[in-house]
């Protein structure tokens, strides 16, 4: 038996050394190629775009580019595998399908702070909050793609219904102001549900995204004080408002049975719904729903690190050329020719510019990746046919007029209080959703609070407060 294990160990060592030596081959005189993992369908004519990109890149930074597309359906899993197996990619898309903090803590990314210092053109081209959101515990591993950064909580209403009633948008300051309109809708348009509830986000989603109700903990973004989410007046008030609206019939009565609302949304069965606002959102909804909408903002613009971290370019942990990778990120953010080449292809081959200077795709050209926010600073992008003039300037102005707060870029790590956090979320999941109003909130509110407290929410609050204080101290 011993002999066998020895032989097996030797064989394994031999196999591994073959594997290693085949990796270390390669000519040092050759121009290095940067491998960039991107999600989406591989464009058929990727090769000719890569060739054109290399003509720009080789003189500028002395490296070539090799974009490797992975299907959207597989990206999340495949990147986990690539990170865990030590794949030698140089760059990768980081974002909602490959979360930043996970990528850093799993050792998938390379620290790039020192290389960023050598790229002043990059750091100067981006606002501070973009660079700030790339920091995790003081170190930078990825650069966010600058695009729409600020969001405003808002409510959308179909324009034809609002006009018929004569709704004055500027008189609506909070949700309650819509009640007369909803009463009128119930009478005149019984075929629609006045208000769409449910969906993603916590019940505090008119307020701020970091109300992480699932932990039972919120932090005040101005003072940095951590509190018990359910002790806050507005949490309870909002749950009670939803209950009241449900009883008044503004919310559909079978809401607790509905799991997928998208088909009813498409069919126009909801007269109004809550969502965030950004420049161009009304036109977007009109395109998707086929009917014009009006938007009433319920707050001011805020820039949130979480949404910026949804689209980033990260540098791979096992890259051999971190300095070139960062230089490449600089090019994608500052070099409009390169950016538009990757985003739209070659002019005259994949797209044409119309008389307004906007992009018109050629049919079946073999290169139409779309979703240009994947590639770098989106404000470099040419406008597409149908996009409003000045949309980028408007968006930049909106970003700059919005504010970040003291806790911008803070990430709570639940490492030390995992048990408590999971117990708390079990308690919350056990109770009916506070968002739908279908259950009598007032009846179970107190006992739910007590259960959450018993589950150890105080310990979570203390831990979160310690982390917040440390974050504020190092800032």
């Amino acid at each position: 038996m011993k002999k066998i294990t020895k032989i097996a160990a030797l064989a394994l060592a031999a196999v591994m050394s073959i594997g290693l030596s085949s990796c270390s081959k390669g000519n040092s005189d050759e121009i290095p190629t940067l491998k960039w993992y991107m999600f989406g369908e591989t464009p058929q004519d990727l090769a000719s775009v890569m060739e054109a990109a290399n003509e720009i890149l080789v003189p500028k930074i002395g490296a070539k580019l090799n974009m490797v597309y992975i299907d959207d359906a597989a990206y999340s899993e495949r990147m986990k595998m690539n990170m865990a197996s030590g794949d030698d990619y140089d760059l990768c898309f980081i974002g909602y399908n490959n979360p930043y903090v996970n990528a850093v803590t799993n050792g998938g990314l390379y620290p790039i702070s020192e290389y960023l210092e050598d790229c002043p053109a990059l750091t100067e081209s981006l606002p501070d909050f973009i660079l700030e959101c790339g920091k995790y515990q003081g170190e930078t591993y990825a650069v966010a793609n600058y695009q729409i950064a600020a969001t405003v909580p808002a409510i959308y209403i179909y324009k034809d219904l609002a006009d018929e009633y004569g709704l004055k948008a500027d008189e609506v300051k909070e949700l309650r102001d819509l009640e007369p309109f909803y009463d009128w809708l119930k009478e005149k348009h019984p075929e629609v549900y006045p208000f769409r509830t449910g969906g993603g986000g916590g019940i505090g989603d008119t307020e701020t995204e970091d109300v992480s109700i699932s932990n039972g903990v919120v932090w005040d973004h101005e003072t940095g004080k951590v509190e018990f989410a359910f002790d806050r007046d507005n949490t309870q008030a909002e749950a009670l408002l939803m209950r009241e609206w449900y009883e008044k019939g503004y919310i559909r009565q079978d809401i607790s049975l509905v799991t997928d609302q998208t088909s009813d949304e498409k069919a126009g069965k909801y007269a109004s719904w809550r969502a965030i606002w950004k420049p161009g959102a009304e036109a977007e909804y009109e395109a998707v729903r086929g009917r014009p909408v009006i938007c009433i903002k319920l707050g001011t613009g805020k820039i949130q690190a979480k949404s910026l971290r949804d689209t980033m370019i990260g540098v791979g942990a096992n890259t051999k050329h971190p300095e070139l990778a960062v230089k490449f990120i600089e090019q994608m953010n500052t070099n409009k020719d390169l950016y538009n080449l990757i985003a739209f292809g070659i002019e005259g081959k994949h797209y044409d510019l119309n008389e307004e200077g906007k992009v018109v795709y050629r049919e079946n050209s073999g290169y139409e990746p779309g979703n240009t926010w994947r590639f770098g600073n989106q404000f470099n992008a040419l406008l597409l046919e149908g996009q409003e003039d000045g949309i980028w300037e408007e968006t930049i102005a909106f970003n700059e007029s919005s504010e970040t707060d003291a806790l911008f870029g803070f990430t709570f790590s639940n490492e030390k209080v995992k048990t408590e956090v999971s117990q708390i979320s079990q308690v919350i999941q056990k109770h009916p959703s506070l968002k739908t109003g279908a259950e009598p909130v007032e009846a179970y509110w107190d006992s739910m609070i007590q259960e959450i407290k018993n589950a150890g929410v105080d310990k979570v609050i203390a831990e979160a407060q310690a982390q917040v204080d440390e974050f504020l101290a190092t800032k």
Partner: protein, 294 residues
């Protein structure tokens, strides 16, 4: 009076099985009906067993680019059939050896197989092994080779082979038959039920495989059918995120999404429905392996 008593249990049994069968058949009919419905009707009036208006839009969308779907069909059919044949052949050979009474080291060999049922390297080491050492990434063999031998089926076959009277093989040995001949001309023909059962299970598992494509395949010409269909749905979602392209958004809102999902289910399940009855006559017998035989 006597006659009546005889009929009552009959009627109850019949009703019971009619209800049971409809519970199984109706959802499937509903899927077919929805896939043939008009998207608008579904949004307005919900799912209906009899479509209000017959509409082939969903199938048109799925087969919009027929070459990709047909190619995925071809790839899936090839690796499913090849896996099925190779799996059954190799597993039967192992099982045949393990069913020998006088084989030395039999329990060690069984343990070697059994061990892999309890322990495996996990996803990441498997991924590293397959992509970096076996170099099976982007290769059709990645569907076939890993998991070619399933210990569970090997033991199932071994139990069945042990049930074949030893005297038959002994007689063949006396007549001068080689082991290969015993295996091919005596054991295999006598074991049709278990072979058919294992073949069907292997075929179904491979036919429904989407995970392998997701992890190891980048070349869209080698995607399996299940993965290809999942990808069509995912790609619609991805296109919907392109909020700067309003023309595209408008076009996308007209894609029938509810009916497309059902049409895909029909497209995938179709061939298996044809295959299943073919194996059915062996099925029950194969499943009772290990039970006492007369």
């Amino acid at each position: 009076m006597k006659k009546k008593q005889k009929y009552i249990p009959q009627i109850i049994l019949n009703i019971l099985f009619i209800v049971l069968s409809s519970l199984i058949i109706l959802p499937f009919l509903l899927v077919v009906a929805v896939s043939l419905s008009n998207e608008r009707d579904i949004l307005e009036y919900g799912y209906k067993l009899i479509p209000m208006n017959i509409d082939f839009a969903a199938y048109k969308y799925v087969f919009d680019n027929p070459t990709t779907i047909l190619n995925a069909y071809k790839v899936t059919a090839i690796f499913s059939i090849v896996s099925m044949v190779l799996s059954v052949l190799f597993m039967a050979m192992i099982a045949f050896v393990l069913s020998k009474r006088d084989l030395k080291g039999k329990s060690q060999m069984s343990f070697f197989l059994y061990f892999t049922m309890l322990f495996n390297g996990g996803l990441v080491p498997t991924y590293i092994l397959i992509t970096q050492y076996l170099h099976l990434g982007d290769n059709i063999w990645v569907y076939i080779l890993p998991g070619l031998i399933s210990p569970w089926y090997v033991f199932m076959m071994r139990t069945f082979f042990t049930g074949i009277p030893y005297e038959i093989t002994e007689a063949a040995v006396i007549d001068g038959s080689s082991e290969y001949r015993i295996f091919l001309t005596i054991i295999l023909p006598l074991s049709k039920p278990v072979l058919a059962t294992v073949a069907l299970f292997t075929f179904l598992a491979k036919w429904n495989d989407w995970n392998t494509s997701m992890l190891y395949i980048n070349n869209s010409k080698l995607f399996s059918l299940q993965y290809m269909l999942q990808r069509i749905l995912k790609n619609i979602e991805l296109l919907q995120m392109d909020t700067s392209n309003l023309n595209l958004l408008k076009a996308l809102s007209e894609i029938p999404s509810e009916t497309v999902r059902m049409a895909m289910a029909v497209v995938v399940a179709g061939p298996v429905l044809v295959v299943f009855p073919f194996f059915q006559k062996y099925f029950v017998k194969g499943l009772t392996v290990g039970s006492v035989k007369g």
